[in-house]
Subunit: 341 residues, 2 copies
DNA sequence: AGCAGATAGGGAAACGGTTCCACATTCCGG
DNA sequence: CCGGAATGTGGAACCGTTTCCCTATCTGCT
């Protein structure tokens, strides 16, 4: 395997000059540069990133910590991050983080603590102080997308506002018996995505002078997936007596599950039940789901842009990042309609 | 940032001994080992993987090349790979490969050609000889999961057999008017996953003395996604006159799209239309989809095991890999029923 | 003519580990 | 009791880059 010394010898220059010629740093005569490049090309020279990062301390690699890859939101974010990173010449090292437990500790204490990544993007995961600290101590930037990380820059939609937007849509349609399919853990973790959506819902209901309707107090926790939504909706809609006329689901996948449950129970939609979700899932249009859209692919790209700036790789002319919440938009489709009288 | 020299000094030994004590290679007295470990612990020493791989040539990192992360099959495979790799102490570098184009070349020529990964797992992608060669020339193992890579070990289900299994299920139910929603490109690339499934279908039909039924010759290509299946099914089922009574869809996601299309067209299921897919998608049970299951998470784990063996990291007592096709299983649910007479 | 600054290039010292080789000691079997 | 093997440790070379520092030439300006 050819090393830079071989290139240098072939081009008749020193290693130092060869390095400068290839990396573009420092003064090198045009003619020399061309000779070196030709030599490198000829013997198929490829620089060793290990050797380079050993001396520069930069790895051109960022770690992405993510709890799922197979949920729509996370998959989209990951794809967005990947493309941006690739076009910036960076590698992406993936850490599929379990919610908690020894595996999780291992990721932080063993994998991320080493000097293999220049920065960390934590997607949809709530980091505790110790975890942030492990990264920060190595003075590597960390940024949170969706989840929370104490002391780190955060990129997220305003989940509470999004939930209010969805809820108010139902209220405007005249619904008064409204239930919420909340994300698992939303009751316990108030600052989590699920928690914020839940409280946005409760606030809007409260402001309208209403209380959640349906069995189990009108708020049922569901795993944030289609089967999760299905199971929870069956529970929520099980008693024909006190059925809600509308449901606000914590995510589109949960909403799909609820739609499926309604179908199974023979409830007509939307005349008998209106459903609104959050996400703007790829399938929402096809299923006619009213939802508050967000744009995870774009969020991923933004996170990368943010990280690049922190790493001093800001492309010139790029504007400053702001901490404004990310974009959302209510899209009304056929899954919601006016309340039956 | 403490280096191994600091640990050595603190423990009163040489760098060589410290290295041996921490890595567990070579002879070190128990007492010494403990002293070194204590010292490392005390000053928070963490070895630099770059330095290590510079001298050993091993990076403890494998590259995964994958065309999507947000399709069920790929997401599951990726999660399986990730967990296995993590528990083997390996990092996973993700390359989300565009189907073709300059980005794709860049991945191979720039990213994968460098010495940053010890091996490559290519998931669901058909590599050409040049691409395989780039990796092989660096004498890094490459293994294909799902897709094809000339000259590389391949892990895959028998797609043709799976398609036949699905088709024969429909035949046994008495269907004679059967259509196929094939994957995009299945006609052009006979050896691709889509191509094999298509030919498995055609073979079984042929063996039964039947020709595909429905508009467009009974075989319509669809993007391998739910919206893709929806659009293609609308086309296939558009003319009430020559409607098939059963559809074999190239994947479960396509099948879901077709189910949705049937619903939209007011076709009763399964009495008016039977549908069978391939995959064993997470949602298949909920939607009552008959399907030929495969187990992508397990496939990912297997791929990692295979790579570990090629890297000489076989855990003792693990058996030899075989090239037998991976497991599949027909699961009959409510989306298929006997042909109407 | 003299000089500062820009341009060009080389030698050598890092970076942080691993491993080869040499040397010393202990152990064990014949 | 002796020789070789097993065990334990240190010194130094090495992996492949980048970069610091030094020297040399060339430009343009006073």
């Amino acid at each position: 395997m050819p090393a830079i010394g071989d290139v240098a010898r072939l081009a008749g220059v020193s290693k130092a000059t060869a390095s400068r010629a290839l990396s573009g740093r420092g003064y090198v005569a045009d003619d020399t540069r061309r000779r070196v490049q030709a030599a490198a090309q000829r013997i198929g020279y490829i620089a060793s990133p290990d050797a380079a990062s050993l001396v520069t301390g930069r790895t051109k690699n960022v770690g992405v910590v993510i709890p799922f890859v197979n949920r729509w939101f996370f998959g989209e974010v990951l794809e967005g991050i990947e493309r941006s990173l690739l076009s910036a010449g960076y590698d992406l090292t993936l850490y599929n983080l379990a919610q908690t437990g020894p595996d999780r500790d291992r990721v932080f204490d063993f994998f991320l603590a080493r000097k293999r990544v220049d920065a960390v993007i934590a997607v949809g995961v709530d980091l505790d102080e110790r975890e942030v600290d492990v990264i920060a101590r190595r003075s590597k930037p960390i940024i949170a997308l969706g989840g929370t990380a104490p002391g780190a820059p955060r990129l997220a939609i305003d989940d509470r506002a999004a939930a209010s937007l969805a809820t108010e849509h139902l209220l405007k349609l005249g619904h008064t018996r409204i239930a919420h399919l909340a994300g698992a853990g939303s009751g316990a973790a108030a600052r989590s995505v699920q928690g914020l959506r839940r409280s946005g819902f409760l606030e809007s209901m409260d402001a309208a002078g209403l209380t959640p309707a349906g069995s189990a107090g009108g708020v049922v926790e569901a795993e944030m997936s289609l089967p999760g939504g299905y199971a929870a909706a069956l529970q929520l809609l099980g008693h024909p007596g006190d059925r809600p006329t509308a449901i606000f689901a914590a995510s589109d996948e949960v909403a799909f599950g609820a739609m499926r449950a309604a179908e199974r129970l023979g409830i007509a939609m939307p005349s008998g039940l209106s459903i609104v979700g959050i996400d703007g899932h790829e399938y929402a249009e096809l299923f006619g789901l009213t939802t508050v859209e967000q744009y995870p692919g774009d969020q991923g790209r933004r996170a990368v842009a943010r990280v690049m700036r922190l790493l001093g790789e800001a492309p010139d002319g790029s504007e400053e990042p702001d901490d404004a919440p990310l974009a959302t938009r209510l899209v009304v489709r056929s899954s919601t309609t006016a309340a039956p009288r």
